[in-house]
């Protein structure tokens, strides 16, 4: 009896919903942008969505750098009730696509001409077997080196353009009693430094072979041995108290002049700006030595939903995410640059302009590469296996030859 009346009510409800001429576009968005600036940025999207007549259900899951959100997502998908859009990036999008739960938003993408607006390599992350299944929000650059301008001037040091120059500069700072490299001993931070060294010493082509294609010959090559040698040298430039330190505390060391350099993605800029420092005069930003551009692109993957209100909401959301206004406001708040290349950058600072110019240049030269340390190049199991070796080497006295052998074995074992 109860069952029957429930059925009747739901049919009645769905009838009224389909009878309505304009269904209200609905979205439920799962994300972990909960800290101050990020929450504000999401708020922009929320307001735009509401002003177009949509109904936004927020599902923020904080904690664990997205681990907690992924657990929530898994539960939702397994129970057959996926959110409309989920903050996902890189190969994780394809992984979820293979589970058969992503939807196709090509209609919006083609209408808005996303193919012409996005660099090709970034667009490829948003496509699942040729159809669009995700919308990009921003481009973070990972291979940045930050420096305290006053400390460098005091010791007469220029921004290094090769790793050899970096080592000389660091030795000079060390002799003067300044910590050369501010670093936090967490696995992902070790991996961030590692990938910039791979790019710098090996070049873009080697980076592609080793950390994207996982070519065994590249992983065990002499170049990789040199990379680990450089990591061992860099270990000497770090202060003794580094294990477990959070990245923003390492940035604070550069801000306060306790340390000279930090290698970190452009989210570090937010810390400098929040401390009232000006790019170019108080702190310096430059790409790490070597050619190329490592990107970390945040995006929203679109999950399969039923019902015209939800489908409509999904399309509208995708359109707004790629809209000029959101791309500009969001990235001004977050310190990254817009993913679409036609946004006016007048309000952005000099570091963002450098980033944007170099992205355009490297996209043409084929050296626009996905960051492995931030989950853009490889799936979780493979990138995790590499990180295990990198961090084990960095935190012990393992020889570079042993590390290279371990790297090849670990990658094979993770398949």
């Amino acid at each position: 009896m109860i069952k029957k009346s429930v059925l009747a009510v739901t049919t009645a409800l769905s009838l009224t919903a389909t009878n309505a001429v304009f269904a209200t576009p609905e979205v439920e968005v799962l994300h972990w942008w909960t800290s101050g600036g990020e929450a504000k940025s999401v708020g922009v999207l929320k307001d735009e969505f509401a002003s177009r007549g949509g109904e936004w259900t927020d599902m923020p899951v904080a904690g664990g750098g997205g681990d907690a959100a992924m657990t929530a997502l898994r539960a939702r998908v397994l129970s057959g009730n996926a959110p409309t859009a989920v903050q996902l990036k890189g190969p994780a999008i394809q992984e979820w696509y293979e589970e058969g739960v992503l939807s196709d938003i090509s209609a919006v993408a083609e209408k808005e001409n996303w193919d012409d607006l996005l660099p090709e390599s970034i667009a490829s992350h948003m496509k699942c077997e040729g159809t669009w299944c995700a919308a990009p929000v921003n481009v973070h650059r990972v291979d940045w080196i930050w420096a305290n301008a006053a400390v460098l001037a005091e010791h007469d040091i220029e921004m290094p353009t090769t790793w050899a120059e970096f080592n000389l500069a660091a030795e000079k700072l060390q002799a003067a009693g300044v910590t050369p490299l501010a670093h936090g001993g967490q696995a992902w931070q070790d991996a961030t430094v590692f990938e910039t060294v791979v790019l710098g010493l090996g070049g873009p082509e080697f980076f592609q072979q080793a950390l994207v294609d996982l070519d065994e010959a590249a992983l065990t090559s002499d170049t990789m041995v040199q990379v680990f040698d450089q990591m061992r040298i860099m270990r000497g430039f770090v202060d003794d108290n580094f294990p477990g330190r959070d990245w923003n505390l390492a940035t604070a060391m550069v801000i306060n002049g306790e340390a000279g350099f930090q290698i970190m993605g452009d989210w570090a800029k937010g810390e400098f700006l929040a401390a009232g420092k000006t790019p170019g005069t108080d702190f310096l930003c430059a790409s790490t030595p070597g050619d190329g551009f490592l990107y970390n692109v945040d995006s929203f993957a679109m999950f399969d939903v039923r019902g015209s209100d939800k489908e409509e909401g999904q399309m509208l959301l995708a359109e707004l995410i790629m809209g000029q206004n959101f791309q500009k406001v969001f990235n001004l708040n977050k310190g990254s640059i817009p993913a679409r290349t036609d946004v006016a950058l007048d309000d952005f600072d000099s570091c963002a302009l450098t980033s944007s110019n170099e992205m355009a240049a490297s996209a043409e030269g084929g050296s626009l590469l996905p960051s492995y340390a931030h989950g853009m190049a490889l799936r979780g199991a493979q990138s995790g296996a590499i990180t295990d070796v990198v961090t084990a080497h960095f935190n012990s006295d393992m020889s570079s030859q042993d590390a290279v052998q371990m790297l090849a074995t670990a990658v094979k074992n993770s398949m």
Binding site: G64, D67, M70, T71, R74, V77, L78, A92, E95, W96, E99, G185, Q186, A187, D190, D240, N241, F242, P243, G244, R379, G380, A381, G384, D388, T391, A392, F394, N395, S396, M406, T409, A410, N413, S414
Partner: protein
């Protein structure tokens, strides 16, 4: 009716919890065992592929580290906690005046969660903030105590924090055991002029064997499932130097999307627990049947 009810009421009352345990404990153990035989990645899959996940697990150096750490941490944690707990219990048993207050003080760490213990010890052991910095400021410039940041020694800091947390609890267990020893025997021994030390080693401690066993079982399962302490204290670092099986499993299941690997490591952890608990249960049950 009442007779029927009387006879069946206990079963009816127990049935819900019995079913819940059957499903949520044993059912999910079986599910995990199944998944550990598949190639599950992001979501569970159910096609059995054999022992591939176990082969991967035993080939992973990080798992080796985790098992070695479990061995070091488990052994030291159990031995030191028991030794310290027994010593404290014996000292408290000397009919001292403020026993109640002192007992409470020693028991209090047990009231804290492991996360709090781990965070507090992280600050105390941090070379730049804690003990090392303090002693250096007293004027001993060469003093070093950098275990927390030294990959070879970091696992011992986990032991220190774990022992601090648990030894008070072990003390309470032993204190109850000491009190349960028959006063008459002790008095008889005292009349015979046997020294106190001998009374403890020859009479009291041997008669407390069951308490030792319970303390051992409680501590060993605490050691094997240890997770929050390591996460708060070292985050598994430096590098992976303080990984334990539980942190390995968490990383595989929730950070890396490698559910099959996580399931196989969970099964191995369960086997370790069984290796300890089954002999205990066996001896307990046999004793009852005799």
């Amino acid at each position: 009716m009442t007779v029927w009810l009387e006879r069946h009421l206990p079963k009816m009352v127990l049935a819900p919890s019995f079913i819940a345990i059957l499903i949520f404990v044993y059912g999910f153990i079986a599910w995990t065992a199944w998944v550990s035989l598949t190639r599950s990645r992001l979501l569970p899959r159910y096609d059995i592929e054999g022992l591939i996940q176990y082969e991967r697990l035993f080939a992973a150096p990080r798992w080796d580290t985790a098992m070695n750490n479990l061995f070091i941490f488990g052994t030291l944690f159990i031995l030191i906690s028991m030794a310290l707990g027994l010593l404290l219990a014996i000292l408290l048993d000397q009919k001292i005046r403020t026993e109640g207050a002192i007992r409470t003080i020693y028991l209090y760490p047990m009231a804290l969660s492991m996360i709090v213990t781990g965070t507090a010890w992280k600050w105390m052991l941090n070379p730049g903030l804690g003990v090392e910095a303090m002693v250096r400021r007293w004027g001993f410039e060469d003093f070093t105590f950098d275990w927390l940041v030294n990959p070879d020694m970091a696992i011992y800091t986990v032991v220190i924090a774990g022992v601090w947390q648990s030894s008070g609890f072990v003390m309470a267990l032993f204190l109850a055991g000491l009190r349960s020893v028959d006063e008459e025997i002790i008095k008889a021994a005292q009349v015979d002029g046997i020294p106190t030390f001998r009374i403890y080693t020859a009479i009291i401690i041997p008669s407390m064997a069951p308490i030792f066993l319970s303390a051992f079982i409680v501590l060993s399962h605490l050691a094997i499932k240890s997770f929050d302490l390591v996460i708060a204290l070292t985050g598994g670092g430096p590098g992976n130097a303080t990984d334990l099986p539980a942190t390995y499993m968490y990383a595989m299941a929730f950070s890396r999307g490698d559910i099959g690997q996580a399931a196989s490591s969970a099964m191995v952890m369960m086997a370790v627990v069984f290796a300890i608990v089954v002999p205990y249960l066996y001896s307990e049950l046999r004793a009852k049947n005799d």
